[in-house]
Symmetry: none
Subunit: 234 residues, 2 copies
């Protein structure tokens, strides 16, 4: 999709390679983001440029969470990747560019991994629900939930933060609608906030508490049971 059809092989010209990397990297992250939202999937994307620079993306969950989930998989699950075959298949299908980079790894099947998958899924759902309930209480919950000054203070800060965000966004919208000559046809243009492909969207600071708690918890920085206790208290 450019002026010419591009062979899928290493771009030798350094400058060109750099530019292409920059463009395609953004494209890839955008796609990953869209997939994660559209299909409600967790996506983690890690890239190392030749110069060693790191780029990464993750959807609503943190990279760490997803990696953790990955390393937690039983060995056989992890090995049974149906996609490693993709490059081979794609190549064979697309054109005859010999490239023997991947090693076919696939084992037949397990019969009841689905059960475990479902269980895992349910656990995920439950935790997600608990999490959301907590966040909702902050907003919808009546004040009787707030019994300490610290809590009150905390909620106040979150609300202020969120309000700030909304006002900022509102301002952007205002400018957008009142701008004199809006060029009606800007083809590949995203709405401004989507330009944040780079910033990986996610977390507005409104749920910092939650994220921070999860961060602590997921990194083993909290004593056992602490996280749930805290969630309850919040």
């Amino acid at each position: 999709m450019g002026r010419v059809k591009l062979q899928i092989k290493r771009i030798e010209n350094t400058t060109n390679r750099q530019v292409t990397f920059s463009k395609r990297r953004n494209g890839l992250i955008k796609k990953a983001y869209e997939l994660s939202v559209l299909c409600d999937v967790d996506v983690a994307l890690i890239m190392f440029s030749p110069s060693g620079r790191l780029s990464l993306f993750s959807g609503n969950k943190s990279i760490e969470e997803i990696l953790g989930r990955y390393v937690n998989l039983p060995e056989h699950e992890r090995g049974r990747l149906r996609n490693k075959e993709f490059p081979i298949k794609a190549l064979g299908k697309l054109r005859d560019e010999a490239d023997q980079t991947s090693q076919p790894t696939s084992s037949p099947e397990c019969i009841n991994p689905q059960l475990e998958e479902f269980q895992q899924e349910i656990i995920n759902c439950k935790s997600r629900i608990a999490n959301m309930e907590k966040r909702l209480r902050i907003f919808e919950g009546d004040a009787s939930e707030i019994t300490t000054l610290i809590q009150a203070d905390y909620h106040e800060q979150i609300l202020e933060e969120t309000l700030k965000q909304v006002r900022l966004h509102k301002q952007v919208l205002e400018e957008k609608f009142t701008s004199p000559g809006p060029p009606p046809t800007t083809k590949g243009k995203l709405p401004p906030e989507a330009g944040d492909v780079n910033g990986f969207v996610t977390t507005s600071s409104s749920s910092i508490s939650n994220h921070f708690l999860n961060f602590l918890d997921s990194n083993g920085l909290l004593p056992p049971g602490c996280a749930s206790k805290m969630r309850h208290q919040l």
Copy 2:
């Protein structure tokens, strides 16, 4: 890029979501592959479908290699792009825990009825989650959801209202707790029920995370030394 322009939001229709996932997943992997070849970069891509199924891609290097490289990065490098620190320990720890907990699956497969049960439960959870997400968006929204001035205005009003409530409540609490002495106008309050009067005191930081950290610490909810470690990291 289809017959119509698609909003980037969760596809509610299950069949559709599944189909889209399948297509876009392939597209994403293909893009990742192309990027890795064209620009000679290491790419690791991990996806968990809602049903818990794993998809992944990596270029010429194995996923493990790339993940290893990632977790071995110095913290400041890793955090640069947006992500929080991920102690290397955590990965290993997660793995160990999983091995311990995911063993007892002794029952053979007579799973069909149970499977359906699980599916039903998942469906229930999902719908509940969708509902809560909707409510939550009103508050935390995800600026990309707010596309009109009217919406923004609405959200602003709700937040203002809630904030007012919280401040009122906070005032009440303040009066309640400062009654035995001269009332300071702003900060400087006691942690009420949690007990540790002596833990809190300072702060001065406006960062919510820091605030929350203090909250945890002052309530004795962090392991010894954790708080200072975390403060350093923030």
